[in-house]
Symmetry: C3
Subunit: 439 residues, 3 copies
């Protein structure tokens, strides 16, 4: 475990906040114009491509649903006063509600109203993707204040053949081995879940486009569940190239990091994130469960990809989760930039980690002759000398550089530096094309 | 670990006590009429078959010994007063004593008398199966009270070609995979060791005969060591079908459960019993040792069967062990019925545990379309929904339902229910014939 | 872990001290007459052979350096007074210094003088094997007392084609499987590091020559690094026969034992030493690192030999390390003899440890018939009876006798005795030729 300063005062924190603020009011769903518009806003950060998949397209056991769009939704009381209006908050309407315009008694209306008695000022988040109904969400305090009588209800939505939209960006590297970053982008006005993931992914992609990379990076902004399933169905040929991946969610709050391991539990990405987490700062490592975000699909047994889920406070573990209190106040510029910095460290290890072979495996090579060892004997080895000896001894093709760092307790960066030095002196060879060799 | 109410007020407790009381006075041994009569009494509970194996029959390195029967045994003092009489207690005679009728001085007699100085009122239990001698066991208080002088000793036994008897009952199931329950039945008047095992086995067998089972159950009531060795020698063709087994001993006292694992240590039976034990109630799990009961034979390296030993207080760990104080007061109706209930729970898991294959392994299937998922999104998953996701994700042929229950923390019964539901919806298939499929 | 009385009052303690005292003043190096003379002194203990390898001989990536010899080395001040003289202490000259005779100012001289400011009365130990320079080591108190002015410096050494010397002794056993004991013998007047290893190795070899052994024992006294590399290069055909080995260093101080495991970590030698160490006495087990003594070469990935490093206080962990304070006062007769006794215990287990096959694997054999089991039943098993049952049950070719001792908690000696008894009764056979069978 290497200690990290997680909260950085990077200027990217405020920049990411501004993008989140622009995205916040939009009513996103698993299809529709809100999702499409959000992806276009992210195009200001990175040139992601917006893919459109027609309604009815098969994706394994599923099919792409009809596209949902909403123009208005409100409830007026007997006096014509608007008591709930979708224009005030995108959470007011149950997502994927079918259209209705009718007059109902409060009693008839009540079964379509959702609130949180234990949080009387918050609006809950509800969806009805696969059942043909409608509803409103409102603060419990408002619900209990509604007088008996007749109400006029209007849900002006459309559910028609259209498309499911998702964003995709590939940052090519020297090899076609891929690292996948995936974030669900289908939630309406919820900031931590998951505007945080969406904007950090965009800025991570932007930073990777600035440099030469060993690995290829693929970013996906897609609707949860159906989006990931659709992407997997359309990209089965890409799947074998995925060397590592992370689902990004809830990474804007001020909690410590939580990493949920891939289903494999011992994948390289699991080892890397575990290595970089700081338990003494409260960071937590949890085992895979098939409950959560799109790791459910990436880690389904037919794929079993090395994809974990990178979070701060996990879904369901903060009180504001899935309510109107998950707003822009809940996410912090420093938390966003700290999450970005950690992801960049993860990328740095992914770029450099490799299996090597000692080309002089019988006894140590004479490092002194090559200027790699102190001239005067009788003293303790320096850090780099020790790293050279560790890399030489354990480069038998079965220990990665990260394995050697963990076993020796020497920082990964020093181990990687030693390996590069030994490669330059032709004492070591990477088993896979080296990240610095340009192959 | 699932919490269990171990002490049940089942009416079977008193019923089992009555059978134990009927068996208690009989002088059992590894052969002879006492053993035969005991098996006949158990036939009132279940239609076990009594097998007879002739003296001299080879069984691996052993051979069936001569049959021993006893009519009387007593010691009279110089005045003709009977000071020790086998009719008072079957432990008074060293089991397998050869016949003698003689007059001896107290000094000559003494080397044939056994007592427990530290427990002066208890009679010890001693045997001499394979050495041609005789002896008496008596309370130390009585031994020290014997006056010098001549004594008349009579041991009216016979040791002649005959048979070794054991009881066997097979309860056939839909498959020929077998579960073995074995209990030693050769001890004279000792209640916990092992009338408790004998009567609980009989009542477990009776309950299994009342229902349709997936697995085949085989019960053995046999003399320790030579009985198990003889059975194994005669049934080598059955051995490969034994999927799990338990030796039952000392399950009538009021202690918590102790499970001694099979030699394999990681057999399904070991996992099941470990899962059901309640460490917080004092239940204990111990590793296999080759000291104990007939698991010594079932787990000899040439067989290495998945057979553990199910006990309450283990042999040698209660002071009454192998003395006249191991009497009917030591065993309790609730302990017997609690042991029976635990064995039935073990059977329930054995019946339902299986390896399954997810038939839709790429991404999750759409459970909502099949009515297996809540209609309204945004809430936490229910217990059964979570169980469905766990079963789907881990049904890759390498995780049993019990593995999934342990990994998820969801009760086995819920996991098994989810698996059955998924099988009904053709989303899952059992790798071995399903316990409910009737195949 | 078996408890050991580690400090013995063996008369060998004082004997080993006398040899150490004889060796102490000599100026050893990685080549030269001091090393050669030291090996000749050890020949008084055991008939080791002195091997000479010519300068320039290739050894993997290395070559044998020129031979270094020293006649004199001193510094005189302006008044002609000798302020530093090699005749006072072999550490005064930087080992492998090239010859020089010159007059220098204190300022010019200073870059060739080495001291320990934090230990002003101690002389440090420095070497310059592979760089063409010279230098003196002296107490810091003396260094700071030197007045300005001109000094006359004389280093009367030669660095010429010659030989690298090492000592080798093979004690043949009934099998050609070898146990390697290796100790670096190149340090000048340093007692714990490593006269202790040199004299204990000689006395261990002498004791093994007194008896018939199952295994073959090879002892090496060689210069660190280049000596081990040279030996390996000349003996690649011996390497496959090495079943176990120990590097011996720093075993004369009064600290508890420290065992550094082989690179494999689970080799037989690792298990044996771990088994015999006494953590409650402070003995410590540490993982392999490629920093240390010649285990660096034996455990290089191209060899990966089962060779650990046996120490008391490890190199660098006592303040006197690599200074003139590592003198004869630091090592104790009882520590030397305690180390020797522990090595003999290690040898005893190596000699007897083996994998066996139960020749009667189906059920237990009838031990009573063979006089191996108590006649009177109903009592607990004795220790030897239990050992017989453990050995029989686990002798499936996959558990060594030491595995069985550890699993059963029975002392190794009792397990070995049981195995020998079972072999005598033809119930067991060693998979490798038995140490007592004379094969």
């Amino acid at each position: 475990m290497e200690n990290l300063a997680k909260e950085t005062n990077s200027p990217l924190g405020p920049a990411m906040m501004r993008v989140a603020a622009e995205l916040y009011p939009i009513c996103r769903s698993i299809t529709g114009n809100g999702l499409r518009e959000s992806l276009r806003i992210l195009q200001n950060c990175v040139p992601l491509e917006i893919r459109e998949v027609p309604t009815g397209t098969r994706a394994f056991d599923w099919e792409v649903p009809a596209e949902w769009n909403i123009r208005a939704a409100w409830i007026k009381d007997g006096s014509g006063r608007t008591v709930v209006d979708f224009r005030d908050h995108s959470l007011h309407v149950v997502n994927y509600s079918r259209p209705i315009h009718a007059r109902l008694s409060l009693n008839e209306l009540r079964s379509h109203l959702f609130s949180l008695p234990e949080r009387p000022d918050w609006i809950p988040y509800r969806t009805t993707y696969y059942r043909d109904t409608w509803g409103f969400c409102l603060p419990h305090r408002l619900l209990t204040s509604l007088a008996d009588g007749e109400y006029e209800v209007c849900v002006d939505t459309s559910l028609e053949p259209g498309n499911l939209s998702y964003g995709e960006l590939v940052v090519p590297g020297r090899t076609t081995d891929e690292v996948l970053f995936s974030c669900h982008s289908c939630h309406p006005s919820l900031a931590n879940d998951n505007l945080s993931g969406m904007v950090v992914a965009a800025h991570l992609a932007a930073s990777l486009r600035q440099r030469q990379n060993h690995l290829t990076y693929r970013f996906l902004w897609l609707p949860g569940t159906i989006g990931a399933i659709t992407w997997l169905a359309r990209n089965e040929s890409v799947v074998p190239r995925i060397r590592a991946g992370l689902v990004l969610s809830c990474i804007g709050d001020s909690g410590p990091f939580t990493y949920k391991k891939s289903r494999r539990g011992d994948a390289e990405i699991d080892q890397i994130v575990s290595h970089l987490l700081s338990p003494e700062s409260g960071d937590r490592l949890i085992d895979f469960t098939p409950i959560g975000y799109d790791e459910r699909q990436y880690c389904s047994p037919g794929f079993n990809l090395p994809v974990g889920c990178f979070m701060r406070t996990p879904n369901g573990c903060f009180p504001e989760y899935h309510t109107s209190a998950d707003n822009l106040d809940l996410i912090k510029p420093d938390s966003l930039s700290g999450s970005l910095a950690m992801l960049q460290r993860i990328v740095d290890v992914l770029e450099q980690n490799r299996f090597c072979q000692n080309l002089n495996p019988k006894c140590e090579p004479q490092l002194g002759r090559r200027g790699l060892y102190r001239a005067l004997g009788g003293l303790s080895n320096t850090g780099l000398e020790q790293a050279l000896l560790w890399v030489l001894n354990f480069s038998d093709g079965r220990h990665s550089l990260l394995d050697i760092a963990e076993r020796s307790g020497i920082p990964f960066a020093t181990i990687a530096q030693a390996a590069t030095l030994l490669e330059q002196h032709e004492l070591l060879v990477s088993e896979t094309p080296s990240p610095t060799s340009g192959r």
